[in-house]
């Protein structure tokens, strides 16, 4: 606890650098990554991330010095080479782009590991920390690193800000952008450059292996919460920054831990929470929607039985026991009871001892369902030319989906018929609230 407070107070200058650096990084890679995500280039991002390793190693071997700017340049060059290689392979050969990505990723990364092993075997003292580029070590960031990182992140966000409308049209409809005369090629180069830069600058903190997740996951998570591009990007940046904060805390409190995996665990949890609980798109809300439709369908089916029995006996308000209802159509006893109680609360059903009967409101609703059922049967036999003995099944399930306006269309198209294809009367109510 004391450790956490000490960390959060940012009293230690080095902690300040690390936290600031990694949060900046998380936010700006998320901003750039939002476009990578929307352009469906996530795998290219992964290939670039793995491909910067040989560049870093070569830059180190030539300069014999671990200066962040030198390593950044090396990473940038080999990252760009990987993009070009993917492009050339998929355009000039018969190899499709997914295979091209896989080839480039593994070849570049292989060479990188080879060079890294070589550097380590030479026993160069300065190489200490170079292997942290695999999984990242945020705590090893020093003031110099953060200066470079900050400058690059600022550049990234600024560029996105200025090219915002161009990048959004490029991501949505590149052909149309070309037809407008926008310099699409140029814009693509800029966006790719930003992606490579974001990756190159992030690897010291996150590592080449997991950098792609830093790029893509915040955007993927943010997409669940909003349909607005600007909001999505801001949210992705917040997610990225928070994961950065979390990762750097871990790196600070447990120095032996690689930072990258922790940042990724954090952002992945955010992504899972989004996937599960985001309104509209989240799984929980989808499940809830489905569940409430099921309940609604059950209630409507029970009401319909009251209507059918009432129609048979010419007594709509007769009190009935549950077994009498089940005789007409089998329902689980417990569910039927729940349903009756629910409708009682809604004022559609009344209870007397262990018998149940329709109320006036209940009858209106029951008639509505029976009416839609029979109208839809009529519609299918008239417009879809289905024989009368084939229409019941379809109507049984679709009757629960009609909105008032669709019902009105149905009535108009059929011109208010008297009976359904089985010659049963269609129960109109006096013009109600529709």
């Amino acid at each position: 606890m004391k450790e956490l407070l000490e960390f959060l107070s940012l009293a230690n200058a080095n902690v300040r650098y690390v936290v600031l650096g990694v949060m900046l990084l998380g936010a700006s890679t998320a901003v750039v990554g939002s476009f990578t995500f929307l352009r469906k280039k996530a795998l290219v991002g992964d290939a670039i991330a793995h491909s910067v390793l040989p560049g870093i190693c070569l830059a180190f071997m030539f300069s014999q010095y671990k200066h962040p700017l030198v390593l950044l340049i090396g990473a940038f060059i080999s990252g760009w080479l990987s993009i070009l290689s993917i492009d050339i392979i998929s355009k000039k050969s018969r190899i499709k782009s997914d295979t091209a990505i896989a080839i480039v990723l593994s070849v570049f990364f292989g060479i990188g590991i080879l060079l890294l092993t070589y550097i380590q075997s030479t026993g160069n003292a300065a190489q200490a920390g170079l292997d942290s580029f695999l999984f990242g070590q945020a705590a090893s960031l020093i003031r110099e690193d953060v200066m470079v990182l900050g400058a690059v992140c600022f550049l990234l966000v600024l560029t996105i800000y200025f090219f915002f409308k161009e990048f959004s049209i490029l991501s949505f409809d590149a052909d149309y952008a070309t037809s407008l005369g926008l310099p699409v090629r140029f814009l693509e180069v800029i966006l790719s450059t930003l992606t490579v830069l974001a990756i190159a600058v992030g690897i010291q903190a996150v590592g080449v292996v997991l950098m792609a997740a830093m790029l893509i996951t915040p955007a993927a998570a943010a997409r669940y919460w909003t349909n607005n591009l600007t909001k999505m990007i801001v949210l992705a940046a917040l997610f990225g920054a928070f994961s950065g904060l979390f990762g750097s805390y871990i790196s600070y409190s447990a120095p032996k831990m690689p930072t990258g995996p922790w940042i990724i665990v954090c952002i992945t949890i955010i992504a899972f929470v989004s996937l599960a609980f985001a309104p509209e798109r989240g799984l929980f809300f989808k499940w809830k929607r489905k569940r409430s439709k099921e309940i609604n369908t059950l209630d409507e089916n029970v009401l319909k039985i009251f209507f059918h029995l009432g129609e048979q006996e010419n007594n709509m308000f007769a009190a009935r026991k549950i077994p009498a209802l089940q005789k007409r159509r089998y329902f689980d006893e417990k569910k039927v009871l729940q349903s009756l109680k629910r409708m009682m609360r809604a004022g559609q059903i009344e209870q007397e001892d262990n018998t149940w009967k329709l109320t006036e409101t209940g009858l209106v609703e029951a008639k509505r369902i029976a009416r839609i059922h029979r109208l839809w049967e009529m519609y299918m036999s008239k417009f879809l030319r289905m024989p009368a003995d084939h229409v019941h099944e379809g109507a049984e399930s679709l009757e629960h989906f009609f909105t008032p306006s669709m019902e009105a269309m149905l009535e108009q198209d059929l011109d208010f018929p008297e009976t359904d294809p089985h010659d049963k009367p269609i129960p109109y109510t006096v013009k109600n609230e529709f």
């Binding site: 949505f172 409809d173 149309y176 005369g181 926008l182 349909n227």
Partner: protein, 261 residues
């Protein structure tokens, strides 16, 4: 039956286009007069969309050239508008209807510039023309196919161009939307705009268009509909591909040979 015109809005000269080294359009050569509704008709795989794309410079032709208003396309981009096929984009993109229609203004505004109030008014007016103004704030993924189609048309209208190239604007729209789109196109024609439409329904084509291009990898006909809609020419267009063209282009693709004069 290829009728060339004086002072054409669009001139396509000896255009040959290949996909993946596979020629799909052979020596297309025609010109289009001003203020017409032009239908591009032909069977599936005839290269109708490809032709529009190469007119718009989205595909580099193997040979030949295109002149728009007697100039290179790049000099008159503002006067030409393109409506891609609805399925060519992912409609799950985070954007509202108005966002998409505003894209029609991007070309005029240029790099770095923000959209102005005037741009928004033009975009809203374009939406009104396709009866979609009340949906301006709707997320595009929630639209029906026909509504998406109309949003694309509105985006194109927002460009305020003189020549419109539309790829299957009637695909997937219901009958009432189709007739309202058609009357919109007719209004545009009355304002001396030229509209070229890729269309797959032969039944309605005669009724809709003034000028018809019949295409099946090669140009079969281009001219006023009365002269082009003959059983012989239609038979030529729909009566299967020329086998020789097909096997020649397959051969070139297999050997991966470039086509050079």
């Amino acid at each position: 039956m290829i009728i060339q015109v004086d002072n054409p809005v669009l001139e396509v000269h000896d255009l040959t286009v290949s996909y993946d080294k596979n020629p799909v359009l052979w020596n297309i050569d025609f010109s289009i007069p001003k203020g017409k509704l032009v239908g591009i008709i032909g069977p599936n795989g005839a290269g109708k969309s490809t032709m529009l794309k190469s007119v718009m410079g989205l595909i580099e032709p193997q040979s030949g050239f295109v002149k728009v208003f007697d100039k290179d396309l790049d000099d008159v981009r503002q006067r030409v508008s393109y409506v891609p096929q609805r399925e060519s984009v992912d409609w799950d993109f985070p954007a509202s209807v108005l966002d998409v229609v505003l894209m029609g203004r991007y070309g005029r505004r240029g790099l770095f510039k923000r959209m102005t109030k005037q741009d928004k008014e033009i975009a809203m007016a374009s939406l009104a023309k396709v009866n979609m103004e009340k949906y301006y704030n709707r997320q595009i993924a929630q639209l029906s196919g026909g509504q998406q189609q109309r949003v694309f048309i509105a985006r194109s209208l927002a460009q305020q161009a003189d020549l419109y190239l539309m790829d299957e604007p009637f695909a997937g729209v219901d009958a009432s939307a189709e007739s309202s789109i058609l009357s919109l196109l007719q209004e545009m024609r009355a304002e001396e705009k030229t509209i070229m439409v890729v269309h797959h329904d032969l039944q309605s084509a005669y009724e809709y268009f003034d000028w018809v291009i019949l295409l099946n990898m090669r140009l079969v006909a281009s001219g006023p509909k009365e002269e082009v809609f003959t059983p012989k020419l239609l038979q030529e267009t729909y009566g299967g591909k020329l086998t020789l063209l097909d096997s020649l282009s397959n051969f070139i693709r297999r050997k991966e040979l470039p086509i050079k004069g």
